[in-house]
C-alpha cells in the first residue's frame, strides 16, 4: 500500500466534525446564493462522499482521485435525491444531511484506517 493522504484518528475526526459543523451552519444560514454558501456548501455537497471514498481507498493518483471524488459525489447525490423522490417522502434537507453523513462517516473511517496503518508501520515487522 502506498502512503496516502489520510489524516490521523483524533486530528482527523476533529477536522471532519468541524467541517460538518461549518457545513451545517452554512446550509442553514440566511446567506442564500452568496459565494460563501455556494462554495462552502455546494462543492462539499457535490464532491464530499466521493472525496471520503478516495481517502478511504488511499488512491495516490491526484487526477484519478479528483475524477472519482466529483463523479461519485454527484452520483450519490442523484441516487439519494431519486430515493427521496420515488419513496414519496421528498425532502431536500434529508438528502443534504445524508450526503453530509456519508462524507463524515466515510472520511472518519478513512482516518481510523490511516491511523491503524500508521501504528502498524511504526510497530515495525514482527520478528519471526
Amino acid at each position: 500500500m502506498r502512503p496516502g493522504r489520510t489524516i490521523g484518528t483524533a486530528a482527523g475526526l476533529a477536522v471532519w466534525a468541524a467541517i460538518a459543523l461549518v457545513w451545517t451552519s452554512l446550509a442553514g444560514s440566511d446567506l442564500g446564493g452568496s459565494p460563501a454558501r455556494v462554495i462552502g456548501v455546494g462543492i462539499p455537497l457535490l464532491a464530499g462522499p466521493g472525496l471520503g471514498f478516495v481517502l478511504l481507498l488511499n488512491i495516490a493518483d491526484p487526477l484519478l482521485s479528483l475524477v472519482i471524488a466529483v463523479s461519485l459525489g454527484c452520483a450519490t447525490l442523484v441516487v439519494g435525491a431519486q430515493i427521496s423522490l420515488y419513496s414519496g417522502h421528498w425532502s431536500p434537507p434529508v438528502v443534504i444531511v445524508s450526503q453530509l453523513a456519508c462524507t463524515v462517516l466515510i472520511s472518519a473511517a478513512a482516518s481510523i484506517r490511516g491511523a491503524i496503518a500508521k501504528q502498524r508501520r511504526e510497530a515495525g515487522p514482527v520478528a519471526g
Binding site: R2, R37, V41, G42, L56, D61, I68, L72, V78, P92
Partner: protein
C-alpha cells in the same frame, strides 16, 4: 496489477510520444537557461491570463441586449474582446511548444473556457435558452410538489438530474433559474478533469494530450452543456469511461501476429508510455472502484435517456475486443440501464416504443433528419448551419488522419477508434428527435479531439513554419467556433425586457388559464409548470396570416387565454422559417385588426395579449 497484463512495445519512431516531448522541451529550453528570468517568466503568463479574463468581463458586461444580430453573439462583442479570446490560445500554444508547465497550461485552458463561455454569460442580462428555462421549471416542479408528473413530459421519466439540481439549489439557497447562467461554464470546466484522465490513459505524449483538451474545448460547439440532464450525464459518462480506461484497460495478452485476430489485438495493445498510473491501483482498490462505477452508471441511467446506452455500448465494445479485461462492468452497466428503462421509465415506453426504436435500422433517414432538415431559414442561418457541418467534417477528417497515423505506427490507435466510433452505432437505433447526429458528434468528440490533436501535433513537429501555420489555423478557428456555438443567439438569448414580460405574464394570468407563445423558442415555463395549460405555438398560423386559426388553436378556456409575442420569437421566424424582415410588424397588425386581443403588458421587446371572449369583443 495492470502493468503485469500489458504487453509493452518499444516506442517506434514517428508519432509524438513521451520521448518526443522531452526532446522537444530540451530543444526549446536550450536558449532559456538564465534562472534570473525564470520567476518573471513564470509569473508573466498567469498575470496576462488573469488580466485578459478580467478585462474581457469589464468590456462586455451587459452589452448583449439590443446588439445581437443574425450572426449571433459575435456581433455584440467589441473587437478587443475577440483579441482577448485569442490570448489564452496564444499563451497555451507558446507554453505547449516551450515550457510544458502544467500550471500554466491548466490556467490557459481555464481562461479559454471562461472567455468562450463568458462571451454570453458576462454579456447577457438574463439566463439564455428556452430549454434551459424549461429544465429550471422541471426542477422547481419537483422542489414544490415532490412529484415528477411523468405524463407531462418524457424527460420526467429520467428525473435524476432535476431532483439532484433541486437539492443543490436548496442547499446553496439559489432559485433553479439562477443556476442557468453559470451551468455551461461549470460543465465545460468539469469535463476537463475526466478528459485529462482519459487522454493520459490513451496517449503517450503530454503535448498531444494537452492539445487534445484545447481542441475539445474549441470544437465542442453543439451546445449540449447548458443546464440539462445530458450535460450532467455526459460528465458522468466521461468520468466512468476515463476511470475504466485509466484503471481497467489492460491491452491484449498473448499477441499472435500470424493470425488476423492476433494482428487486430496487437493494434489494441497499449505501448509502455501510456497509462503509467494504471499500475498504481491495487487489487482491493479495483474492487471498490467497480462498485463506485456501478453507482455512477446508475446515476447516468436515472438522469438521461441516451447517455447510459452510449456508455454501455462503448464499454461492451471495449470488452468484446478484449481490451477491457472485466466483463462484469459492461454487464452491470447494461443491467442498470435496462433496469431503469423497465422500472423508472415505464410510463414513457408504454405506448412510445415506436418513438424509441421506430427508426432502428434507418440510418440514412436518421442522418438526413439530423442534417438536411436543419439547413433551412434565412441565408445567414443556412451559412451558420453549414459552418457547423463543416466544423464537424474537418474534425472527423483530422481525426481520421490521426487514426491512420497511429495505426501505421502500431500505436493504440484502434482503442481510440473504438471510442470514437461507438457512438455511430446509435444511428442504427435512434434518431433522438432529429438530434442523433449532434449526439454522435458530441459523444465521439473526446476521442476525435485527441486524434485530431495527434494529427496537428505530428504536423507541427515537422518544421517551424509548419508549426506556425498550424498555430495560426488554431487561432482562426476560435472566432469561427464562436459563430458556430452562439450563432443562434438572436433568438436564443433572453433580454431583460423579455424576462420582465414573462414574469408579468405569470403575475397577470390566473392559474388554470391557457398560455400561448408565437414560436417554441420562448424562454418561459420556469415556474408554474402544472398550474397552466400550455397550448401549441401558433407560428404556423401567423406565418400564413391566419389569425383566426391562431385564435381557434388558443381554445375556449373560461379562465382565459394569453398570447405572448417577444423579439426573440420574431427573430426565430425570420432566421429559422425564413420569414420576411417586417414579419413582426405584420403579426402586430393582424392581432390588432382581429379585435379579439387586449394588450395587458407591453415593453420594447415584448407584448402580452389577453384573448377576449367573442361577445365581449363584439360589444
Amino acid at each position: 496489477m495492470i502493468s503485469n497484463s500489458v504487453t509493452r512495445y518499444p516506442s517506434p519512431p514517428g508519432p509524438p510520444d513521451a520521448a518526443h516531448d522531452e526532446e522537444a522541451a530540451r530543444a526549446a529550453g536550450a536558449s532559456h537557461q538564465d534562472p534570473r528570468h525564470g520567476i518573471l517568466r513564470a509569473g508573466a503568463k498567469p498575470a496576462v491570463l488573469v488580466a485578459g479574463v478580467v478585462t474581457g468581463y469589464v468590456l462586455i458586461r451587459g452589452r448583449a441586449d439590443g446588439n445581437i444580430g443574425p450572426w449571433g453573439i459575435i456581433e455584440a462583442l467589441p473587437r478587443p474582446y475577440l483579441l482577448l479570446l485569442l490570448l489564452p490560445a496564444i499563451v497555451f500554444f507558446h507554453e505547449l511548444r516551450r515550457g510544458m508547465s502544467r500550471a500554466i497550461l491548466s490556467l490557459a485552458l481555464v481562461a479559454q473556457v471562461i472567455t468562450i463561455y463568458g462571451s454570453v454569460a458576462f454579456s447577457e442580462s438574463m439566463p439564455r435558452f428556452a430549454t434551459a428555462w424549461l429544465h429550471a421549471g422541471f426542477t422547481t416542479q419537483i422542489l414544490q410538489t415532490g412529484e415528477t408528473a411523468t405524463g407531462m413530459d418524457a424527460r420526467f421519466s429520467w428525473p435524476g438530474f432535476f431532483a439532484a439540481a433541486g437539492v443543490f439549489s436548496e442547499a446553496v439557497g439559489l432559485e433553479p433559474l439562477s443556476l442557468l447562467r453559470w451551468a455551461p461554464m461549470c460543465f465545460a470546466l468539469l469535463f476537463l478533469a475526466p478528459l485529462a484522465l482519459l487522454f493520459r490513459a490513451l496517449h503517450g505524449s503530454a503535448r498531444v494530450r494537452w492539445a487534445g483538451l484545447w481542441v475539445f474545448t474549441v470544437a465542442n460547439w453543439v451546445g449540449q452543456d447548458y443546464f440539462a440532464p445530458q450535460a450532467f450525464a455526459f460528465f458522468l459518462h466521461l468520468a466512468g469511461l476515463s476511470v475504466v480506461t485509466a484503471v481497467f484497460l489492460g491491452g491484449a495478452r498473448g499477441v499472435t501476429r500470424s493470425r488476423p485476430a492476433g494482428r487486430i489485438r496487437a493494434l489494441l495493445t497499449l505501448p509502455a508510455d501510456v497509462n503509467p498510473e494504471g499500475a498504481a491501483v491495487t487489487h482491493g482498490q479495483r474492487s471498490f472502484l467497480i462498485v463506485s462505477l456501478v453507482i455512477v452508471s446508475a446515476a447516468v441511467a436515472m438522469s438521461h435517456q441516451l447517455t447510459p446506452f452510449m456508455l454501455a455500448m462503448t464499454l461492451c465494445l471495449l470488452a468484446l475486443t478484449g481490451v477491457l479485461r472485466i466483463a462484469l462492468l459492461p454487464l452491470a452497466t447494461v443491467i442498470v440501464t435496462v433496469g431503469w428503462l423497465c422500472y423508472g421509465a415505464q410510463d414513457y415506453w408504454n405506448g412510445h416504443m415506436s418513438a424509441i426504436f421506430g427508426s432502428a435500422g434507418q440510418v440514412s433517414s436518421v442522418v438526413s433528419s439530423g442534417v438536411g432538415s436543419r439547413i433551412v431559414g434565412s441565408t445567414v442561418h443556412q451559412v451558420i448551419v453549414n459552418l457547423r457541418i463543416a466544423t464537424a467534417g474537418i474534425m472527423w477528417l483530422l481525426a481520421s488522419a490521426g487514426l491512420i497515423h497511429l495505426l501505421r505506427s502500431k500505436k493504440y490507435g484502434l482503442i481510440l477508434g473504438i471510442i470514437a466510433g461507438a457512438p455511430f452505432l446509435m444511428l442504427g437505433l435512434q434518431d433522438y428527435g432529429g438530434e442523433g447526429m449532434l449526439r454522435v458528434y458530441l459523444f465521439s468528440l473526446p476521442a476525435t479531439a485527441l486524434l485530431a490533436a495527434h494529427a496537428c501535433v505530428s504536423l507541427a513537429a515537422r518544421s517551424r513554419p509548419v508549426a506556425a501555420v498550424v498555430a495560426v489555423a488554431g487561432l482562426l478557428v476560435l472566432p469561427v467556433s464562436l459563430v458556430a456555438r452562439y450563432g443562434n443567439e438572436s433568438y436564443e438569448h433572453v433580454s431583460a425586457q423579455e424576462g420582465a414580460a414573462v414574469a408579468a405574464l405569470y403575475d397577470i394570468a390566473p392559474h388554470g388559464s391557457t398560455l400561448v407563445c408565437l414560436s417554441p423558442n420562448l424562454s418561459w415555463r420556469n415556474i408554474g409548470l402544472s398550474q397552466y395549460d400550455y397550448a401549441q405555438a401558433v407560428l404556423d398560423q401567423f406565418a400564413v396570416r391566419r389569425v383566426d386559426l391562431a385564435i381557434a388553436a388558443m381554445g375556449t378556456n373560461p379562465k382565459g387565454a394569453y398570447l405572448i409575442v417577444t423579439r426573440g420569437q420574431i427573430a426565430y421566424g425570420e432566421e429559422v422559417y425564413g420569414l420576411p424582415a417586417d414579419w413582426g410588424r405584420s403579426v402586430q397588425r393582424d392581432i390588432v385588426r382581429s379585435r379579439r386581443f387586449t394588450t395587458v403588458f407591453h415593453n420594447d421587446d415584448a407584448t402580452v395579449y389577453r384573448l377576449e371572449p367573442v361577445k365581449e369583443a363584439r360589444r
